[in-house]
């Protein structure tokens, strides 16, 4: 994040190196080159531009319906859950892991809340209990991954199926009314824009953790080169477990947030769709699946783009099936673009 301004500042001291032209030494020729170099340096920028382009396109093609408060609210409903879980998945991807169970934590956690409530707990305690269970799911994911060195793909795949089944058992396959009412409901999900506020706040916290704290450095090190990180004394396992816990906790919280807003706890909500959308948001936002680098803010824009496309397609009357076609293409194009930008960065430094 802070890299951009420092490139220029850092060069004079090291300038005399033979054949070591500082990056940006090639003068930018016109706005095109300046934009290109900004694109190379800021991985979020390309997705922001694509999102703006999509908004402009649907504003024109979607008629008056697109630029209305009601429609923004619909886009928020799509994007906020994907953004929160996607931001956490971005952190997991950066440290070299993935959580396929996050969508089912989203589904399962509201029913845990209901169980605590039915057992006599007050709403705040039921909420805390449900979030603790969600965090516990992440702890199990992380411990199995680290202690048994089982790939997170398998670990969380199993956890996903397990939680899907548990959700059906807990709910007996029926949607139920959230037990939450009153003031607490307004804070979590009840107020019209509360999901957006939660999403922005959570993304901000996660991005700051990634780019401004030791945890962020260790996360990148753990994903980029776990062996080197361990040789340097970094507790790689602990970093991964903590990130699994954060992801599950946020997925569970999002499940409650989203379904309190809808007004129904539904065992068919969330699941694989939510998980895939969250991972797609992270990847489209510029986080590589290989680990080592990425961006949380990018996941927010990835989710926003997917929300805009989803909503825009509805408005202009495109078949809902086409949406998945677009996402499929978008994910692959995003990865190709990332690889291309990475090679540009390399060339700029050589």
């Amino acid at each position: 994040m802070a890299e951009a301004e420092t490139h220029a500042a850092a060069t004079p001291a090291a300038a005399p190196g033979p054949g070591a032209a500082p990056p940006g030494a090639t003068p930018a020729r016109g706005p095109g080159a300046a934009l290109l170099s900004a694109l190379v340096r800021r991985r979020e920028l390309s997705i922001v531009l694509v999102t703006i382009a999509a908004v402009v396109y649907f504003s024109v093609a979607g008629g008056k319906g697109f630029n209305t408060t009601n429609n923004y609210h619909i886009i928020m409903q799509y994007a906020a859950p994907w953004a929160i879980i996607g931001g956490a998945e971005a952190l997991l991807l950066i440290c070299g892991e993935i959580d396929l169970s996050a969508g089912f934590v989203y589904t399962f956690t509201p029913f845990v809340l209901t169980s605590f409530y039915d057992a006599g707990a007050t709403v705040p305690f039921a909420l805390i209990g449900a979030l603790a269970v969600a965090a516990g799911v992440g702890l199990v994911n992380g411990l199995v991954r680290v202690l048994f060195n089982l790939s997170s793909f398998i670990t969380t795949l199993g956890m996903g199926f397990f939680l899907e089944g548990m959700s059906y058992i807990q709910s007996r396959g029926e949607p139920t009314q959230p037990p939450i009412g009153g003031g607490l409901q307004r804070v979590i999900g009840g107020w019209r824009w509360s999901e957006l506020v939660w999403a922005l706040a959570i993304i901000a916290v996660l991005q700051i953790a990634l780019s401004a704290t030791r945890y962020g450095v260790y996360t990148q090190a753990a994903g980029g080169n776990p062996l080197s990180a361990a040789e340097s004394g970094i507790k790689v396992g602990r970093i991964k477990i903590a990130t699994f816990v954060v992801t599950s906790l946020l997925a569970g919280f999002t499940g409650i947030l989203d379904q309190v807003r809808v007004g129904s706890f539904d065992p068919t909500s969330g699941g694989n769709t939510t998980m895939f959308m969250a991972v797609a948001s992270a990847v489209i936002g510029g986080t590589a699946l290989l680990g080592g680098s990425g961006t949380v803010v990018g996941a927010l824009f990835g989710a926003l783009l997917l929300g805009v496309i989803n909503d825009g397609f509805n408005l202009i009357g495109v078949n809902a099936y086409a949406f998945d076609v677009v996402i499929g293409i978008a994910v692959v194009v995003a990865m190709l673009l990332n690889a291309y930008l990475a090679s540009l960065r390399k060339r700029a430094l050589r």
Binding site: A2, E3, A13, V217, N225, K346
Partner: protein, 270 residues
């Protein structure tokens, strides 16, 4: 932590720059042996290095170089014999313990994180933060990284460049700089010149010479290229079948002699 060590003006007392035996002894190994089951890896090894001295350690594959290095880094414990660190008998309990004493190793894999910038690699697991707050002091880390690299004359385009984008020689130099950066007293280099081109190898040798001239560091260099060893080291030790069979000042030996010693036993009869 790095302030005075990194300052080029206080570096290299003339006496230390003079070469072998000039500085105080940093490490002395006395009659150290190590067995792995039926295999004797090291037998009665005697070895010593002083401040401001570079000792070249050569020998064929399997001669025991790695075992010896691993004993000095605290990874293996010797079966017999003793190790004196700065004149006091010391049992190196672990790698962390050896490190806390100032014994740093640059392994062949360098232990760098490609995706992180140079300055974060130099501070890896020793990041500076704002007191009790967990936030990174990036500006200060960049400044110190630049200082540390400048003080040993390492040229890289920028401390904010990602390590993965640098050349092999630059990466090696950064790994060395990181070890020195953390108040090292003894620096162990495991084949830093392997898989490196002639030009890059020369840059690393120059770096080692500058570190030697600072006079506060003892260096053990494992290498296969004997001309580079004779070139940069003050003294050469040859390890054969777990024993040190040759210990001489570089000035008193030659590449031809070293080659002859190492390869004599394998000569194919005509």
């Amino acid at each position: 932590m790095t302030g005075e060590a990194a300052d080029p003006n206080t570096a290299g007392t003339p006496a230390a720059a003079d070469g072998a035996g000039a500085g105080a002894e940093v490490i002395r190994v006395e009659r150290v042996s190590k067995r792995f089951g039926p295999v004797t890896a090291l037998r009665d090894i005697n070895l010593h290095v002083a401040r401001g001295e570079i000792l070249g350690l050569i020998g064929d594959n399997g001669a025991g170089k790695s075992t010896l290095i691993k004993i000095l880094t605290g990874f293996h414990r010797p079966d017999s014999g003793r190790i004196l660190f700065e004149g006091t008998e010391t049992r190196l309990r672990s790698v962390a313990h050896a490190r806390s004493l100032g014994i740093e190793t640059v392994y062949q894999d360098l232990a760098l994180i490609d995706g992180l910038p140079v300055y974060l690699n130099l501070h890896l697991n020793k990041e500076l933060t704002h007191g009790p707050l967990p936030f990174l002091r990036r500006r200060e880390m960049r400044r110190r990284a630049r200082e540390a690299l400048d003080s040993v004359g390492i040229e890289i385009p920028s401390v904010t460049a990602e390590v993965g984008q640098l050349s092999g020689g630059q990466r090696q130099a950064i790994a060395v700089a990181r070890s020195v950066h953390s108040d090292a007293k003894l620096l162990l280099l495991d084949e830093p010149l392997a898989a490196m081109g002639a030009r890059e190898g020369t840059q690393i040798l120059r770096l080692l010479r500058r570190l030697k001239q600072r006079g506060d560091l003892a260096i053990i260099l494992i290498a296969h290229n004997y001309s580079q060893v004779v070139d940069v080291c003050d003294r050469v030790n040859l390890l054969q079948h777990g024993e040190i069979t040759f210990d001489r000042r570089s000035a008193d030996t030659s590449v031809a002699e070293l080659l002859e010693l190492v390869h004599a036993e394998y000569r194919v009869e005509a």
